[in-house]
């Protein structure tokens, strides 16, 4: 553990955004926004520097307070964390720029919402802290930081619908974190450590471990809005302000997924069973079908996009069954695990870029029209070609058509599904694609139709449209470094050595 290179960067990645958030509190509307934006850009820059540092030197660690685990807390920036931090920085920087113009444009009508900036910086710090943390209890604190700031952002508009949705979101989030913490209590009780690495070595199968796996998985599934705990997500994401919706769907739900992924592979490796994997996969498949179908049935743009998140998060759950093979089954090829991993990472990135672009586009449309009813989107392609292009590209990525990031994710997912011999997941993936095409083109087809009635289109700053388009493009561009990225991720401990424990766990099949 201690032979890894130490670096101050992990600590700065958490400290800097909080410092800037604190600083911004001393300013009023304009100043808050300015300090906030500068803070966001600095954090993004720092994240990219840290990413580059990891590619150069490998996994970086920072031993907080100078106390080695198990007594102290370790920050660990391995390739997986670096990828998530880099993604957060890219999406976050774009959304920050969008937010700057978005709130400026609505300043005169009381839509400046300066508290967005400190809350978003806190959220960012929480996310970075989460990706870096190697300590189960510290992870709890970071998900609380994320949870409170995310709900506060969700209710920023102060509209009644947002308040109701926010309260539901908050109650679900508290319940989820409490369930997670219950699991942490049992893990600590049975091993006397909270450090992920040490836990992975010390943990033995038994009722306490199984129960911890159960409550931790359930708690994190609630916070990731996994089926059947997705009820809070569509109202919360659809009623928030555009930049906030983008943040919530692109980044916030990914945080808890990240913990789930880490814990399943690095902590629970030995105690996983085939049945546990199948159950969580089933939830994922159900989310894909149900969420897509719900998205297809909505009449408001933002609700379509929000329900689509439920479906897209379902794909993330579908990689868990692939981590555990059925008893007696040998994989068709050695790289099935790497396929499953890449599928997960790509789905996270593609969804982050595409969904944020979609929500930002929806924000642009609301700004122009004053509402987001789908049947009013006639003539949009003539009025706002850039936005239609952004929605089209983002939609293509959500459907998973080539050569988008979503395609890469689905390709890898299907490959993992076939290689692990679990072909029964394939229909859900394909049905999800078809339904996604359904809801995406339900929006786009009207964009090409001529205007039916007179509608007033208020002007929208071009910068906003540009940001949305760039994010959509990014969901395609992430495909190009795939080869490099897979190698980078494979250099991670989690990618390589986790494999054997998982195979053993699956092979035992003592459920």
């Amino acid at each position: 553990m201690t032979d890894l290179p130490t670096s101050p960067l992990p600590a700065l990645l958490v400290g800097l955004p909080i410092l800037m958030a604190t600083l911004s509190l001393f300013f009023r509307t304009r100043g808050k926004a300015l300090v906030g934006l500068v803070g966001c850009l600095l954090t993004a820059g720092l994240s990219f520097i840290a990413f580059a540092e990891v590619t150069r030197r490998g996994t970086l660690i920072h031993i907080l307070g100078g106390w080695d685990p198990p007594l102290g807390i370790l920050l660990r920036m391995d390739p997986l964390a670096a990828v998530f931090i880099g993604m957060t920085a890219a999406v976050g920087a774009f959304i920050s720029l969008y937010a700057w113009w978005y709130f400026r444009a609505q300043e005169s009508t009381g839509g400046a919402f300066p508290l967005f900036w400190p809350l978003w910086l806190f959220l960012w710090a929480g996310l970075n802290g989460l990706f870096l943390s190697n300590d189960l209890f510290n992870l709890f604190v970071t998900i609380e930081v994320i949870g409170i700031s995310a709900v506060a952002l969700a209710v920023l508009s102060g509209k009644v619908a947002a308040l109701f949705a926010g309260l539901r979101y908050l109650l679900a989030a508290i319940a989820g974190s409490m369930a997670y913490l219950f699991g942490v209590a049992l893990l600590y009780g049975s091993t006397g450590t909270l450090d992920i690495g040490l836990l992975g070595q010390a943990l033995e199968p038994g009722p306490a471990t199984t129960f911890a796996l159960l409550v931790i998985t359930l708690g994190l599934m609630i916070k990731t809005a996994s089926f059947p705990f997705h009820f809070w997500l569509p109202p919360a994401h659809s009623s928030a302000l555009a930049p906030v919706s983008a943040l919530l769907s692109a980044l916030v739900v990914k945080g808890t997924f990240y913990i789930l992924l880490r814990l399943w592979t690095e902590v629970f490796g030995v105690s996983l069973t085939f049945a546990a994997g199948q159950l969580i996969g089933l939830a994922g498949a159900a989310a894909v079908i149900w969420g897509s179908w719900q998205a297809f049935m909505q009449t408001n743009l933002k609700l379509v996009v929000a329900h689509s998140s439920v479906a897209q998060l379902g794909y993330l759950l579908m990689i868990f069954p692939l981590l555990v093979l059925a008893p007696g089954v040998t994989a068709g090829s050695a790289d099935w695990l790497s396929s499953a991993w890449t599928a997960g990472v790509y789905q996270v990135m593609a969804h982050a870029f595409a969904k944020s672009s979609f929500f930002l586009s929806a924000g642009i449309i609301i700004m122009a029209l004053g509402h987001d009813r789908i049947e009013s989107l006639r003539d949009l392609a003539t009025r706002m070609p850039m936005t239609v292009m952004a929605m089209g590209l983002a939609g293509v990525s959500l459907i998973g058509l080539p050569p988008s990031g979503g395609f890469m994710a689905k390709w890898m997912l299907l490959k993992g599904i076939f290689l692990s011999g679990q072909w029964w997941w394939a229909p859900a993936v394909l049905a999800g694609s078809m339904l996604a095409a359904g809801y995406v083109f339900r929006i786009l087809r009207l964009a090409f139709a001529p205007a039916a009635e007179k509608q007033t289109w208020r002007p929208v700053p071009v910068a906003l449209q540009l940001v949305a388009l760039l994010l959509a493009l990014a969901s395609f561009l992430i495909v190009f470094p795939a080869d490099y990225l897979v190698q980078f991720l494979e250099s991670s401990k989690i990618f390589g050595s986790g494999v054997e424990t998982i195979v053993e766990g699956g092979g035992d099949g003592n459920y």
């Binding site: 068709g332 090829s333 790289d335 790497s338 890449t342 392609a381 003539t382 070609p385 292009m389 089209g392 293509v396 459907i399 058509l401 080539p402 050569p403 890469m408 689905k410 390709w411 890898m412 299907l414 490959k415 076939f418 290689l419 394939a426 394909l430 694609s433 078809m434 095409a437 083109f441 087809r445 009207l446 090409f448 139709a449 001529p450 495909v479 190009f480 795939a482 080869d483 897979v486």
Partner: protein, 498 residues
Amino acid sequence: METTSILPLLILGSSFIPGILILTLREDQSALRSFLNLFGAVAKVSLVAWVFAGTMRGEEYAFLFRLAPELSFSLRVDQLGLFFASLSSVLWLVTTLYAIGYLEGGKNRRRFFAFFSFCVTAATGIALSGNVITFFIFYEFLTLSTYPLVVHSGTDHAVNAGRTYLWYTIGGGTVLFLGVVGLHVLAGPIYFGQTEMIASLVSEHPTQLTILFFLMLAGLGVKAAIFPLHGWLPISMVAPAPVSALLHAVAVVKAGAFGIIRLVYDVYGIDAAGQMNLLTPLAILAAFTILYGSVQALFQDDFKKRLAFSTVSQLSYIGLGAAIVGVLSTTGAIVHLVHQGIMKITMFFAAGNVAETYGYKKISELNGIGRRMPLTMGAFTIAVFGMIGLPPIAGFISKWYLGLGAVEAGSHWVVLVLLGSSALNAAYFLPILYRAWFCEPDHEAVPRRRTGRLETQVLLLIPVVITGLLSLAAGVFAAMAGSPLSIAREIAERLYLL
């Protein structure tokens, strides 16, 4: 293996970059837009010709980019691909001219021409793909780039047609995706022409390979409009005439047919496909589609709809030829790619001219149109005779080779299908010619467009004349070196040598 070259990329870029640039133009910059378009089209034809010449000299052009482990973006020029690329690029040039004339003064032309360019990019991408995954990428790109063209007019009718089009093509794409991933998992990355991999697996995994073959065939069959997957094609008739030309002759259906040829010959290999008995179902399906499409065409009064069902029928000649083992029938299938393209595009241009000039969309309105538009209808007549299979027009050559191949392979029933289809072709096409040339016009009609001294606008007239003459030339000069037939023959021989 091959030398890396950016020429294949340039061929794609010659239509893709103008498309992007057009998107950034203003709607009213029509001169610049037309320039970009034509420049791209001419550049593409020249580049293809250049590569063609190089390939003849024995040079190889390939471009490879590794996306992920075992997932590479590969462009590689081979003769079959180049054959299709030549067809697309030449017909694109013609269609661009036609479209500029056709859409003059229309709305949303920026969008139209941009996606028009993307569409051809996708078609040439399909032609030049070096492996299955690259083929799939462009196959889906084609779906997406044609959608805005199908719904271009924006009427409810068009939007609904667009929806049908999407359900069929995205569904087909999804099934194809499943097949492609399955194949990838089973056999690793498949480069076209390397059939040893599949051949070595035949004895081990015959069931999986059969399932995957039919999955991919179903995916390709949607675009190739094989019964019962043809439903989108007649409905997409609402699109403007240049788009119909693109769908029926240049890009979409051809992508499907071309894909089937690739699948049979360059992925599975004719030996493996024969060994697993995959071709008989394909042949039967194709034969049925030929007859079914023709019968359906008989009952259509809408001009373009009749042409559309004719496409359904004619296109399956390619599938049929691919499914019969033998150099001659394969030659027939490959050459029909080009022959059907130039004949059908002539017909759609003609139908578009009639509709644009006089507003006639139904066959029952066409009485005496030949006298008013002699050049247009002359070209149309050549195409009709070709479709029926009269010598010395292009269609005759295809049918002749298909028939010879069938006899050679011992599938005599195919000859009956071909004869029956020719009779049906005559039955639904000749009434049009009869009305056009021999019936008196019902009433006086005034052209809706300013036509000058010609029968219609010059930009609408030139393309139809060119493609009409090409249809004739392809048949007349079939025996000469460099004709589509001779090239197709060469390709077929190589496929069987491998």
